[in-house]
Symmetry: C3
Subunit: 363 residues, 3 copies
Amino acid sequence: MYPKNCWYVAAHANELTDKLFARTILNQAVIFWRTKDGGVAALEDRCPHRLVPLSTGTAVDGEVQCGYHGIRFGADGFCTHVPGQDTAPRSPRVRTFPVAERHNLIWIWMGAEDLADEDLIPDIHWLDAPGWASTTGHLHFKCDYRLINDNLLDLSHETFIHKHTIGNDSVADSPAITNIIDRRVVRVHREMPNIEPPPFFALSQGHDRRINRWQIAIYMAPGFNMTEVGFHPVDTDRVEGHLMMRPIHIITPETDHSAHYIWAVARNFRLDDDALDANLWTQIDHTFKEDRALLEAQDRRLQAEGMPKVPQLAAKIDAGPVAGRRLLEAMIRQEAEDPRYCAPPAPLADDDVVTMPFAMAAE
Amino acid sequence: MYPKNCWYVAAHANELTDKLFARTILNQAVIFWRTKDGGVAALEDRCPHRLVPLSTGTAVDGEVQCGYHGIRFGADGFCTHVPGQDTAPRSPRVRTFPVAERHNLIWIWMGAEDLADEDLIPDIHWLDAPGWASTTGHLHFKCDYRLINDNLLDLSHETFIHKHTIGNDSVADSPAITNIIDRRVVRVHREMPNIEPPPFFALSQGHDRRINRWQIAIYMAPGFNMTEVGFHPVDTDRVEGHLMMRPIHIITPETDHSAHYIWAVARNFRLDDDALDANLWTQIDHTFKEDRALLEAQDRRLQAEGMPKVPQLAAKIDAGPVAGRRLLEAMIRQEAEDPRYCAPPAPLADDDVVTMPFAMAAE
Amino acid sequence: MYPKNCWYVAAHANELTDKLFARTILNQAVIFWRTKDGGVAALEDRCPHRLVPLSTGTAVDGEVQCGYHGIRFGADGFCTHVPGQDTAPRSPRVRTFPVAERHNLIWIWMGAEDLADEDLIPDIHWLDAPGWASTTGHLHFKCDYRLINDNLLDLSHETFIHKHTIGNDSVADSPAITNIIDRRVVRVHREMPNIEPPPFFALSQGHDRRINRWQIAIYMAPGFNMTEVGFHPVDTDRVEGHLMMRPIHIITPETDHSAHYIWAVARNFRLDDDALDANLWTQIDHTFKEDRALLEAQDRRLQAEGMPKVPQLAAKIDAGPVAGRRLLEAMIRQEAEDPRYCAPPAPLADDDVVTMPFAMAAE
């Protein structure tokens, strides 16, 4: 249901401190903390003594101390101290996981440890590049993570689920074009010229003139999604007058029927505006929770029916989600055939991907 | 566990508006709404696109619009509109269910569609006939619906479960006579002459003179129950002085271990007394919730033991419930032998059934 | 997982009155009440009529009356009355359990009834002997009862779980000596000379002079635990100046993954001090709930892994718990081989067991 040989996002970098932080990733309970040098340690959240979760304990001197009997383990998983005795056993060792910190995110590798190459982390530099500011959050969804990808690759749902924030009739009424890039990325592009702005856009824009809006849904298997959201008042120039947001939605499976929705909405305007930041957070959090209610209902129904394949009714809007599932299935199949296969990352921000609308708009 | 070729009550008629109304009946999620002509539509609560419950959506122009992508379906189950495209696919079609509105109730047919004959709806005209007024409600019971039928066919339980409202020692101490009528109806009749009135009766009666009380439990498989409740002060004439209520308890299976308890208490006195109505509602709702607590505990115990057959201790009070189970089992068996078998309704209100006590009292 | 031919503690004696008291013991729902002569009746909590829990009902005239139809049963399990009829059937009879009241506790025998010999009840007379006062309580733990025994046989956990009450570094840092007595009792003894008193001890002692502390964990399978807790200021004589508490922790399985933690902390000082009593109760209840949170997390993890054997990391502190498990397993094995085997109780309070520290301290 998910590939293992790839980097998954476990958390925002600022969620990690020198205290213990527990999160389940791919059905595996993991405990994270920052070591003395500021690096990140990731161990199985399981004391090998009596199988108590290590997260019952505390981080002490850059090591983890179990909450039951105080047995300590280093970031390398080796036992360093057993209270009441002078020596610590060399085994059993707690399982460790490769971790990396990049683009303000904590990445974890759940597959074969020696394959964990940081060059496989996708380039999403605008989360920490000059000229961009981000609003970030984390949500827990009780559904198969693939349903969230499906959702993000067909944004016509905004008209129905998000009519109070980002959707209006113009979204579902406008056609979308689906492309597959480098056999790794699905791109679904929709132009909405000369439309009424949905409520959320007034927040960024400060008024409600008619706008030219565009959106591009980008997906890279297994769980990376980015939605470029751009618009400008119809009486302004597209290149100079537009406001653009790049919501990043990273969907990391927790269990077969739950997922972490780790989001960061990067914007290229009003970078230091804390009030805007707070407002955006509230609206985005609310918006994604609208998706959550629906997707959790969908998951319950699918589970009750034994997880049949969807869609079962053919609609044009499904071109994106269907293409996304194919890329994911190919990735899983390749790993099944070759356990050492690792899918390479694809470019996410070059001219062929997110900046294409300007070219198209000029046509 | 339940027959399918018969009309089940899904709701009170006033629960249905032009908005969507979702209810699970016989393990099947159904969505109801009123169409433009005021009729009632009933579809499977499942969008055939991505299997999201249609109840996530809204009713629009007499059709249902899914809450996810806005795909619309008519009352006939056919797709009428897919946003972003000009034509709607003819398949898949959403499953429809025959529905009827009669006696202020919404009836649904879950069996073979072509057998749904409205003449099979039992005559319970006093829910909408002149000379009667009704107090109505709906409760959700987490137990096998058959346990509720058992409960209603042995009203000696009033003495123990409902001692603060309708029960006192006189109920359990008085013998009951059980008859089977037309092989379709069980009738359990109990006379309680010259007794102290239980608390609830003072409410209708306005004082607490000793009363002659009678009760008749009527059951027709699978889930129709009526309890005629009659009484008059001992110093008045039975025919002229009595007050009578006919609580109708319609028990519709939701799942194997949950049921809808759809009730309407018809009375032949103080028809326009809203204060009495409100008071009755409060006491009846409270009373049925006393049953609920006990029956849910019974269901948990029965499930833990693998649903053994009860009663296991022979008592006279079981004549009614045992007869009721036999009629239900016969109905299920006949349907198993002949999938097109439909049990005919039986008269519920003629002289042989509910009005017999007057005759008996005169003997 | 547990032997049946032994006395289990069901409740504190003061929990039982002439009202019904329901508690599940060894996966068996039981109902207790005091009969007219003050004795204790224990029946299966299951009316044989329709399998409703008898605990839905009430105790009437020293008998139990079911909450559904008022059928009554005596303490001997025989039906004594069925409402609406003159005679009561001789069968079915409700299952009875041998019970005994001793040392302010209610004991129940869940095995072969004819083997229930009150001489098999262990002597824990200090719960009702002159010179001792007790603070008592009951907690419900959602874990395998054996995990609680393990916990109580390795008190080094006090340093980590109970650092705000009874633990400090001196506990885990001090070695413990494990003995097995009479093949029935495990005894783990730890001396902590000249240490800082943990917070809880100031409560009993009234000040915070350095103390000599000792603790002895006593275990007798299946679920009897006693922790002798003793200490005296370093500048006083051990025999004359010490304060001693004997917390009794009786762990009775409720289900395979839940247990009753029935505790009584006996002390030999300030016997009539109600304020001390209330203070002790609060601190002890808080302390045992700290264990509960951890043990319930452990149980969830062990269940997820199919209940593997622990410990899996070898540590000296496990000598006590490992010995305790061996005695328990031997007891279960003996009963499996001989269904009439009953393990004899062992002395818990003689010189070899709890009073040994004085001798040792003198060495």
